[in-house]
Symmetry: C2
């Protein structure tokens, strides 16, 4: 553990952005990941990733723009899906970070967007701080940030809640709680939903929220098919008066929901 | 107003990222803004910006990488610093968005990071939705997102609070409230401070928070001088036992504070 006192001899943990899914990644990359970050990605040999197949697909796309300095085959790629998951390797965060102790850099990547935000990876990052290693977050797409920018709702004070309950009654109750909290603190509330439940979520929102509460839904962010709309609940009720209309816009597309009461 | 019903004839409101300040912008751009976004920036003629001088400096730097299709002199650039500010032009959001009604695109840019998030611009975005125009958020650096990624704290549930009170007693009270909220909801709390008050903020944190609460401070994010550390308050107290040690790391550098109780 003598290396702990000398951070300069440790490797760095790079937090690598991924695309937000959909479409050809090689086409997407130039609009969602900066050039220098693509070069950084191409230079890394050691990886901790949420899903190896997904990570290899991203690296293949990067390779079309900036040739990888290591072949995909020679890369060391461990999966990590959070402390509660059965990680295939069975390794713990400090074991996964072993290359850093040898002075080698590691890339941490999740399946979509940035690691550790609405995605696994935070425990790995925390452990890197504990080891005294440098942690380097890199710029890339995040549906939370893009959705908040595009909503026109309050970006001075906001709160992200992850997933809401699946049960319809519980979900409505939670939506009302969030509306109350939004009203009290003038705080934008953000949450996500599994794409096939988007219509059920919108139905719950329109059935639970007050008519003047502002609702924004952003789908397919960063993709060509991106769709974003903010309006009072009353306008949503007029425009999306039935599940058919809702499905036409929301069905099976990744979405983020935002509300300001 | 006949154009309202036909969104395809309206222009688009592009939400343009800026650098996070410091250093030579032309050097920074390739690591914080994707190539296609630089091209998008270079193509725009109409601008709504927080500060015209700052916006011109960013556009000059973009011009070194991707030549602007309009000269800086021929651009239409209006300032907007929020509804409470005295905007030099005296124009209201729907007046600033007039080019969109003519079918022309507009770029919205704040002084640092992305517009509308801890920065002015949200009212302009909301008005664009009301006019029925397309709103297009573009990828770039945000200290909130980079700080959260790099903290290793909970990114499944978090809350951004903007600035805390300046008065020391009020600030301590607010920090304790946020600690309570963090504990109740397992929610990471994020806030910012004016750079010259960073040391006072850290003193308040170390004097107010419980010793096992996790604290992260990230300074100079995205810059070469970036510094990020997450540890329990007790470790912060050991490492930063006096204002001299705090100033050495924090003084006059843009910072974001994160906490998980």
């Amino acid at each position: 553990m003598s290396k702990l006192s000398n951070a300069t001899s440790l490797g760095c943990l790079y937090l690598i952005p991924n695309t937000l899914g959909g479409e050809d990644r090689a086409i997407q990359l130039p609009r969602v990941i900066p050039t220098e970050i693509l070069k950084q990605i191409a230079s890394l040999k050691n990886w901790i990733v949420e899903d190896a197949k997904n990570a290899r697909a991203l690296l293949s796309a990067v390779n079309q723009i900036t040739p990888l300095s290591n072949s995909l085959q020679s890369m060391q790629m461990n999966e990590w899906r959070g402390p509660q998951s059965k990680n295939k390797t069975g390794l713990k965060p400090h074991e996964l970070l072993e290359p850093i102790m040898r002075g080698e850099d590691i890339g941490l990547m999740s399946e979509a967007g940035v690691p550790g935000v609405a995605d696994p990876g935070a425990e790995i990052v925390y452990m890197a701080h504990q080891l005294g290693a440098r942690v380097k977050p890199l710029v890339g797409p995040s549906s939370i940030l893009l959705g908040l920018m595009a909503s026109g709702l309050n970006g001075q004070c906001f709160s992200f809640q992850g997933y809401l309950p699946v049960d319809a009654a519980e979900r409505s109750k939670r939506i009302k709680q969030l509306e109350q909290r939004s009203k009290q603190n003038h705080e934008t509330q953000l949450w996500i939903e599994t794409p096939y439940r988007n219509t059920a979520m919108l139905e719950s929102c329109l059935g639970s929220l007050s008519s003047q509460t502002q609702l924004c839904i952003a789908v397919d962010l960063s993709l060509q098919s991106e769709w974003i709309w903010t309006a009072p609940v009353s306008e949503w009720q007029n425009r999306f008066s039935n599940p058919v209309a809702m499905n036409a816009v929301l069905k099976n597309r990744p979405a983020i929901f935002l509300m300001l009461a």
